[in-house]
């Protein structure tokens, strides 16, 4: 549906997006995740034709956005970060203008305007001035605008920013509903949001694509970062002796507690965390070291996100890919 190939965008000396490539299929909800300033908005602006790229190209259903903008834009509905609303108009007037600009006329125009207003639940404010509407309703008018012309892809740039918790939930429900009939791409810097709605997640940081997968796979990728905390009735030396016989254990730290207890904390790279805890249980039992407490903390998507976005250098796998590309 959307192919992004080697997209690069420079603002003077600043690289906002560097060699971004990915492909988006029809019929999923995609989440663009990244901290502020990571290049999400720039990428979305380029995909929708609002911004030119320094290098690379974007194909929408086979149409190049720079060479056949008209055909490509007809397939997309876009809600920028700040909803582009004419504040002095009513939602009906505004949507009629956008619909007409998208090539709708007469009865079809009227029907579609009514449809999208029903879909975004703004019928009852249809004739009020947009400047009098709350932020949540303005956002809905913005989404309604994107839906006009029945585009295949709907692109929403941070649609929940600045809304109150109830409005956020409503907009999320709306996005989920849209996901059933359209391909939806939306960006956010809030992880839980993306996790809640998306089938696929693209993590972007420093203008590069850090990961592109479904939430479950991303979590699985990071399982090696599971953490285990043990409390034993023995000194650090004894615990160390037991742990040295096991594999997949790194970064061990000890903390001695009152009453002869030792709290041990380490990371495990074992692919199956429960297998690791089973081995630990038996190892301590065989050595007659009473194991009083054992907690396993599984890596969450949050950790994946932090790890990927905080890394200053791109991860080795990405660099390998680049080398292949250059070759």
């Amino acid at each position: 549906m959307i192919q992004v190939e080697h997209l690069t965008k420079c603002y003077g000396d600043v690289m906002a997006v560097q060699d971004l490539s990915f492909e988006i299929d029809e019929g999923h909800v995609y989440g663009f995740l990244g901290p502020n300033g990571s290049g999400k908005s720039t990428t979305m602006n380029i995909i929708t034709g609002c911004l030119s790229a320094t290098e690379g190209r974007v194909l929408i259903d086979g149409h190049d956005i720079f060479e056949e903008p008209r055909q490509a834009k007809r397939l997309m509905g876009y809600l920028p970060e700040q909803p582009p609303l004419y504040l002095g108009e009513s939602p009906v007037e505004y949507l009629t203008f956008v619909g007409r600009a998208k090539g709708l006329r007469g009865q079809e125009l009227k029907e579609q305007v009514a449809d999208v207003m029903a879909q975004t639940k703004i019928e009852h404010v249809g004739h009020r001035r947009i400047s009098d509407l709350s932020k949540g309703y303005r956002q809905r008018v913005g989404i309604a605008q994107a839906l006009l012309g029945n585009p295949k892809v709907i692109i929403l740039d941070e649609p929940t920013v600045g809304l109150d918790p109830i409005q956020i939930l409503e907009i999320r429900d709306l996005i989920r509903e849209l996901g059933r009939t359209h391909t939806v791409i939306f960006s956010s810097h809030i992880l839980s949001e993306v996790q809640a709605i998306c089938d696929r997640i693209l993590i972007i940081a420093h203008g590069r694509l850090m990961a592109f997968d479904c939430p479950e796979n991303l979590e699985r990728q990071m399982l090696r970062q599971n953490e285990i905390t043990l409390t034993t009735q023995a000194g650090p030396d004894e615990v160390k002796e037991v742990l040295e016989r096991l594999y997949h254990i790194t970064e061990i730290t000890f903390q001695q507690k009152e009453g002869g207890y030792t709290q041990t904390h380490f990371q495990t790279s074992h692919p199956q965390p429960y297998e690791m805890t089973r081995q630990l249980f038996w190892a301590f039992a065989e050595n007659d070291v009473p194991l009083l407490e054992m907690t396993l903390k599984k890596a969450s998507l949050e950790d994946v996100f932090l790890e990927l976005t905080e890394a200053k250098e791109p991860d080795p796998q990405q660099e390998e890919n680049e080398e292949v590309d250059e070759a």
Partner: protein, 287 residues
């Protein structure tokens, strides 16, 4: 284009803009008609228009200041970029809407000569020729205003620059009399103009080398002309200023000449500045 045109027209008549513009134009021409046709009992309506064209200095910037600047400020330009319409269509739609707003009061004005002709001898061809030229003059100035509005996201700034540019154009012939017509003076003035042009190119395109190259070529060319035949430069600058005056072309029509080159001149100004406005909109996509 039609969508933008309808939308703009609606917004002009929903807000006060169209009414203020029309009221100003009608009021000023009305005062002129009272002074010349009623008080002095002159039967030439074209003199009224010649007096009335000063009003453009104020009303054209008022009309055009928000046309693109406001879109930028409210970030609604992003909507226009993402819609399946080209920048050319956006600019044309906006310009045609402005023309309609301008034409409506002019339709009222065009009744005046007919009314006056019932009470005396009015030479209608000159009157209507002048009204036609008045329309073209306004159309050209509006195109300039659209371009100025496309350069900034600040309405006030657009209005200020608009007033300055139109006022300068209005007085350019008078100013030309004070400008040195010696060859050396002209050369220096042309050098200054070349430098200013270089700065504008630098600002609009952001390319330093291009601006430097163009400025250097112009400087050398002017100097070469001065060395080869200095008489060519004599009186050149006042001449250029007179030629560039949009108002001076209008006075030709007032004097009773239906000047085809003048019509062509106005139309080229319109096309040129609308082209620049489209480029200015497109440029936003590139930075």
């Amino acid at each position: 284009m039609i969508a933008v045109w309808i939308h703009e027209l609606k917004s002009y008549f929903h807000t006060l803009t169209a009414y203020v513009f029309g009221a100003f134009l009608l009021c000023f021409i009305g005062i002129g008609a009272m002074m010349y046709n009623l008080e002095m009992a002159v039967s030439n309506f074209e003199y009224v228009l010649s007096f009335g064209c000063l009003v453009f200095v104020v009303i054209v910037p008022i009309l055009t200041m928000r046309v693109i600047a406001e879109e930028r400020k409210q970030k609604t330009d992003q909507l226009l970029y993402s819609l399946p319409i080209s920048s050319t269509n956006v600019v044309l739609g906006k310009y045609l809407a402005l023309l309609v707003v301008y034409l409506l009061p002019l339709c009222v004005v065009s009744l005046y000569p007919l009314v006056f002709s019932r009470y005396g001898e009015v030479y209608l061809p000159t009157s209507y020729g002048s009204i036609f030229a008045f329309f073209l003059l306004g159309a050209a100035l509006i195109a300039v205003g659209v371009f100025i509005s496309s350069l900034t996201d600040n309405q006030g700034f657009a209005a200020g620059i608009g007033i300055a540019v139109i006022l300068l154009n209005y007085y350019s012939v008078k100013l030309a009399e004070y400008i040195s017509s010696t060859a050396l003076g002209t050369m220096i003035a042309l050098w200054v103009l070349a430098a200013v042009l270089g700065l504008i190119i630098r600002y609009v395109t952001g390319q330093e080398n291009l601006a430097l190259a163009i400025t250097a070529v112009l400087l050398v060319a002017v100097f070469a002309v001065y060395q080869v035949d200095a008489t060519l430069l004599e009186g050149l600058l006042p001449n250029i200023m007179t030629q560039l005056s949009l108002f001076e072309r209008f006075y030709v029509f007032v004097n009773g000449v239906f000047d085809l080159t003048g019509i062509f001149y106005y139309l080229s100004i319109v096309v040129f500045f609308l082209f620049l406005s489209v480029q200015s909109l497109e440029k936003r996509r590139y930075n």
